[in-house]
């Protein structure tokens, strides 16, 4: 295997050190690979992609669930110096279009089930661009020869990630080879993961949480990665028990569901040494229930698409249950007032950080627009929080309006844009309403144009959302109001809508 920079070099080092040890357990396919076998699969996939004109800097969309093909295709991109663009396999083609509008991909790799719809969409929406669509499983058929060497340098593009925007359009950004390697190094150095560890990957690999804390963490350290294509309680418990999982990155919904499941007490989960949630605030109730059920404490990690993981709580004490912990190695963090001055311990402000893993800016935005979020090497998260005297970070809210639901961030404006297209909708506001488990549920408050049948309109709006949006963005609650409450200055009074 050729080294090069970034994740490709980390993979080469792990293969050299731990070649015959287990690398990947694909729970969905029942397939197991050692690091040597994984490296061989990555080389073959890299040769196949090179044969399809994917080279350094070229973008490739990866629209796959948590399976061997995701891992092999992502690592083959790193091997070639290409730009991996992982996308949610549950996306509708309309969502694929919105995400890929600003990121011209040369190819799209997807599943056999989705390929026909994606190909039909690409033939229309991407006509003339020469974008190919291929089924992952057949990509390597008949491939001979080898891929060209990995380009050197840490500045080349490695990952195209997305953050929810404030306009209904997702904001794209490039992260470099050096930035991805730095993210993996930070996790490795901070958490102390090693080749004896087994990481369970139930969280989606296309998302920053799964990519960084499951896949990159495994490649950097040589820990085995156990993948499950979707969260099911019995399969997850069986994987923890059967594979002797030691590290479990998860989301609050999954943790709450497992902790509530009484038969989980019968599973042997004694191998777990580090369990942590990200993506949404962890309720104290979930922390307590998890501790009672599984013994090992449930911790929180704080991160974002722009930089991967930023902080993690590795404390043993219950006192910091609601903290997301301290910065990972190499990351500087500050909570600041609006004027940029630092807050005192306990004082609330905006969370900002400087990280060698952070992107340098959003794609397609002017330097002035980017300077609002990225100034002097510091990223302004838009999240609100405070530090305690020991430097533990507590996230208390968001200045941005995203809704956290089942481990995903939902941009309310994207949902509003879809609902507003219905001719009977005069006005709509989408908010996050408190769910019963500390999560939020997507709620649409709609003003309609005097239709006689609310129930029929609700049905039609949900059908419209389901056709246009991934299932986690479809509102749970559709409420009808005579008007949207606004302040005298016209600002929507969201607190009266939840």
């Amino acid at each position: 295997m050729t080294g090069g920079a970034g994740v490709a070099a980390q993979l080469a080092a792990t293969v050299a050190r731990s070649g015959t040890r287990p690398a990947l357990v694909d729970g969905g396919a029942g397939r197991r690979l050692t690091w040597d076998e994984l490296a061989e699969a990555v080389e073959r996939r890299a040769a196949a992609l090179a044969g399809r004109d994917i080279g350094p800097g070229h973008a490739l969309a990866i629209v796959l669930p948590n399976d061997t093909d995701f891992v092999v295709t992502f690592l083959a991109c790193q091997r070639l110096g290409a730009l991996a663009v992982p996308l949610n396999p549950l996306f509708t083609v309309a969502e694929l279009g919105r995400h890929l509008a600003g990121c011209p991909v040369r190819g799209i790799v997807t599943t056999a089930e989705q390929a026909p719809a994606v190909a039909e969409w690409a033939a229309g929406a991407l006509a003339g661009r020469g974008t190919w669509v291929a089924v992952a499983a057949g990509l390597d058929d008949g491939v001979t020869g080898s891929a060209p060497p990995t380009p050197g340098g840490a500045d080349g593009p490695a990952l195209y990630a997305f953050s929810s925007g404030s306009t209904g359009t997702p904001k794209g950004m490039v992260r470099t080879r050096g930035q991805l390697a730095a993210e993996a190094d930070a996790f490795y150095d901070t958490v102390g993961v090693g080749e004896g560890d087994v990481i369970l990957g139930v969280v989606a690999l296309f998302h920053a949480h799964g990519l960084g804390n499951a896949l990159l963490a495994s490649v950097r350290s040589g820990a085995a990665l156990v993948l499950l294509p979707a969260f099911r309680r019995d399969e997850t418990l069986a994987a923890i028990e059967g594979e002797r999982v030691t590290i479990f990155p998860t989301v609050p919904f999954v943790a709450q569901t497992l902790a509530e499941t009484r038969r989980a007490a019968a599973a042997d989960t004694g191998s777990l040494r580090l369990c942590f949630t990200a993506g949404a605030p962890l309720a104290r109730e979930t922390f307590d229930l998890w501790g009672q059920r599984f013994g090992t404490p449930l911790r929180q990690l704080y991160g974002c698409s722009e930089a991967g993981s930023v902080t993690i709580n590795l404390d043993d004490a219950d006192a910091t249950a609601t903290s997301v912990g301290r910065p990972m190695k190499g990351i500087d963090l500050a909570v600041v007032h609006e004027d940029g001055t630092s807050c005192a311990p306990g004082e609330s402000g905006e969370i900002t950080f400087a990280s060698p893993a952070a992107t340098s800016g959003y794609d397609g935005l002017s330097p002035e627009a980017n300077a609002e979020s990225f100034a002097g090497g510091w990223f302004r998260t838009g999240d609100l929080g405070h530090l305690d005297a020991a430097g533990n970070l507590y996230v208390t809210g968001r200045s941005k309006l995203f809704i956290s639901t089942a481990g995903y961030k939902v941009d309310p404006f994207e949902v509003e844009d879809v609902i507003r297209r219905h001719p009977a909708v005069a006005d709509v506001v989408v908010v996050g309403a408190a769910g019963s488990l500390g999560e939020e549920v997507v709620k649409a408050v709609v003003v309609h144009t005097d239709v006689p049948d609310d129930r029929q309109l609700r049905h039609d709006l949900l059908a419209l959302c389901r056709a246009e949006l991934a299932v986690h963005k479809v509102p749970r609650i559709v409420a009808f109001r005579a008007e949207i409450p606004r302040s005298p200055l016209g600002k929507i009074l969201r607190k009266y809508l939840v």
Binding site: D234, E260, A406, A434, S436, R458, V478
Partner: protein, 85 residues
């Protein structure tokens, strides 16, 4: 519907409201109406299932969490009717 199934029906309606925040007025009187039409996805249905396990002291294997068993109130009542004494 017999008394026992009516009680299950009412209990599940309460869970929909309390746990999933579905407005009781939105839950169709028609037990055959699809729960997907209420905006419930697979995570919501899983959350409903853990609520049912807790309320009725039953264990529901994940492989039985299908639309056939959980796609409508009637399906849930029929399924639970076989589990709940």
């Amino acid at each position: 519907m017999d008394e026992r199934l009516a009680a299950i029906d009412s209990g599940v309606r309460t869970l929909l409201a309390e746990r999933l925040r579905v407005d009781p007025e939105d839950v169709p009187a028609d037990d055959d109406a699809s729960l997907l039409d209420l905006g419930l996805d697979s995570t919501a249905i899983l959350s409903l299932v853990t609520g049912i396990e807790d309320r009725y002291d039953v264990e529901i294997p994940d492989k039985e969490i299908t639309l056939d068993n959980f796609g409508s109130l009637r399906a849930i009542c029929r399924y639970l009717g076989g589990l709940v004494p």
